[in-house]
């Protein structure tokens, strides 16, 4: 197992994909802080408030008030509803799909290491990668908010954002073995990413309904709400966590089953 783990981490050395995903997170954080400029402009805020629909309701509920608490919460909502599922799914698709793309699948499968160890090692790599992206994102957002001189800083806001973002990341992580399985089945990134995209769309569609607490890809949004959703998040129930863990277990079983019986003939 340790040999597989060492190999999986070594595969990321000089990886451009690693840098690209970091760049995506930083650019997203930069765009988010640009919103601060808009929030500082009373004219823009007035036009948002008068635009109607859920954005106006959110503005009226004070979700767009410019302070550290809101900014940090918006950051967590960004992971939950915007880029978390897509980017973390991409990371998973890359880690599992690159073997096929780079023609190294057969090397891996003919190594004297049990195949499930490779799956486990890859999931550990994915866990470290998405955790690093979450922390980087938090740091970038916090830096951006501080840079624009937003008032109301308290360590508590950052700590809350950290705890919430870790919880959201965990919820998304629990769905990732399914992405890994689709990647192996589809022998590439495309189907996995289409799946992630579809889940994000469905998740956003369910965001304001109670059903979302039973749908793993929407649970993060149900937990922390969405920036356009004035309804305060009602939190998850124990059954939600059971479902999320169940999806993880089923996803792992499918992935291991697939790699154990894989017919790699092109």
């Amino acid at each position: 197992m340790m040999a597989a783990l060492g190999a999986e981490f070594l595969k990321l050395k000089r990886s451009r994909t690693l840098l690209w995903t970091a760049l995506v997170v930083i650019v997203y954080a930069a765009f988010s802080t640009v919103m601060i400029v808009a929030l500082k402009d009373p004219e823009i805020m007035r036009s948002v408030a008068s635009a109607g629909g859920s954005f106006s309701k959110a503005a009226a509920a004070g979700l767009y008030d410019l302070n550290w608490a809101n900014q940090m919460h918006t950051f967590v909502q960004g992971i939950a509803g915007t880029w978390g599922v897509l980017l973390f799914s991409f990371v998973t698709a890359y880690v599992f799909g690159r073997e096929h793309k780079e023609d190294t699948e057969k090397n891996m499968l003919t190594s004297p290491v049990r195949r499930e160890y490779f799956v486990a090692a890859k999931m550990v790599v994915v866990a470290c990668w998405v955790l690093a992206l979450t922390l980087l994102s938090l740091a970038a957002h916090a830096a951006g908010v501080a840079l624009w001189g937003v008032e109301g800083f308290a360590v508590e806001h950052v700590a809350t954002a950290l705890a919430e973002s870790l919880e959201v990341t965990l919820l998304i992580y629990l769905t990732l073995p399914v992405v890994a399985w689709i990647t192996l089945m589809g022998r590439g990134y495309l189907r996995a990413m289409l799946f992630a995209f579809a889940m994000t769309i469905v998740g956003n569609g369910l965001a304001t309904t109670d059903a979302s607490r039973y749908f793993p890809w929407n649970m993060p949004m149900h937990l922390v709400g969405a920036s356009w959703m004035p309804v305060p998040p009602s939190g998850l129930i124990p059954v939600s966590w059971l479902i999320a863990v169940g999806v993880f277990v089923v996803g792992m079983a499918l992935t291991i089953g697939r790699i154990d019986t894989a017919d790699t003939t092109p």
């Binding site: 595969k11 000089r14 023609d103 190294t104 190594s111």
Partner: protein, 327 residues
């Protein structure tokens, strides 16, 4: 080489079959490879070579039948067997962002090898020294093949399974790989199973050749037959083979010849004395209906077995043209 008849069976397949829908990629394949043999698995593109090798390495699940290597029934997670097998299937894959050395070091770790000098040994053996710090993604196809071979040899395997190992190599590279495999076979007694669709690349190396066509093993040619077929000869079609043999041996003092069942005599030496042999046979009362030099090489035989050249797949024809399908 070639004296492997009683040696331990290292690779055995029985009733090995693989269907893809209606297509029978491999059909009821039974072959055995003994310790120390260099078995060349020859067939055109699409004949079923790669599918067979994939089934051998548990990369594809047989529709029927089984493969046993070193006494282990091959299946996913046949970890003990993989510790003793080195393999390279089709184009050697490598992690493009890692250097040649890093790729080999990673493999060494996966194999659980503590001896770091084994990496240096394969670097030298596969002539990878000047590319050590180059990222694998920037290597030429030929050098990637060398890296793949190095990866396969790293743990000094007892069995080496190679699918078209010379793919993408230039003539010098092909000769180098041949030299490495010969050395491994003679010095370490490694059993080599390699596939190819170019006979000339393997006939100098192989101790046995299996010809596969449309998923079926058509023929296996042993070492002696190989050696005989690979030699040039002068062939007389004669009325009396016994008398011919006597004339050649006693009068012409030829020792290296053989008498064939179909009424021909093949002489493997002194081709410049063809006229003299002809005269001696005629003067001894042997009627000669034809005389020819070796027209059918093993390669011709292969083409004959697997269909006419015009039926060959475009890729086969292209490579044949490039590398000299006929000698």
């Amino acid at each position: 080489m070639g004296e492997t008849g009683s040696a331990e069976v290292v690779i055995r397949t029985e009733g090995l079959t693989k269907h893809y829908g209606e297509v029978r990629a491999v059909d009821d394949l039974a072959l055995t490879v003994r310790r120390g043999e260099v078995y060349a698995f020859l067939g055109r593109n699409g004949a079923g070579k790669t599918t067979t090798i994939r089934m051998m390495l548990a990369l594809a699940k047989p529709t029927d039948g089984w493969v046993e290597i070193l006494g282990t029934r091959m299946a996913p997670n046949a970890v003990r067997a993989f510790e003793r097998i080195g393999s390279m299937v089709e184009n050697a894959g490598a992690y493009g962002n890692l250097t040649v050395r890093e790729n080999l070091e990673m493999q060494r770790n996966l194999l659980g090898l503590r001896r770091t000098h084994w990496v240096d040994e394969v670097i030298e053996m596969c002539d990878l020294g000047e590319y050590l710090d180059r990222r694998a993604g920037t290597l030429s196809l030929g050098n990637k093949q060398r890296l793949g071979l190095g990866r396969a040899l790293l743990h000094k395997p007892e069995v080496l399974i190679l699918d078209e190992p010379t793919n993408g190599l230039d003539p010098v590279g092909i000769a180098d790989i041949r030299k490495v495999l010969k050395r491994l076979s003679s010095e370490r007694g490694i059993t080599v199973f390699l596939s190819s669709h170019i006979l000339s690349e393997v006939q100098q190396l192989a101790t046995r050749i299996g010809i596969i066509h449309q998923g079926r093993l058509l023929e296996e040619i042993g070492y002696e037959e190989l050696r005989r077929r690979n030699r040039e000869y002068l062939e007389f079609a004669v009325s009396d083979v016994k008398r011919s043999a006597w004339v050649l041996e006693e009068q012409c003092e030829v020792s290296d010849f053989d008498v064939r069942e179909e009424g021909t005599v093949r002489i493997y030496q002194h081709f410049e004395r063809a006229g003299e042999f002809n005269q001696a046979l005629v003067e001894s009362g042997v009627a000669i209906s034809s005389m020819r030099t070796s027209e059918e090489s093993l390669e011709d035989h292969f083409v004959h077995l697997t269909g006419t050249e015009s039926e060959a797949a475009p890729e086969t024809a292209r490579r044949a043209g490039k590398r000299g399908w006929r000698r």
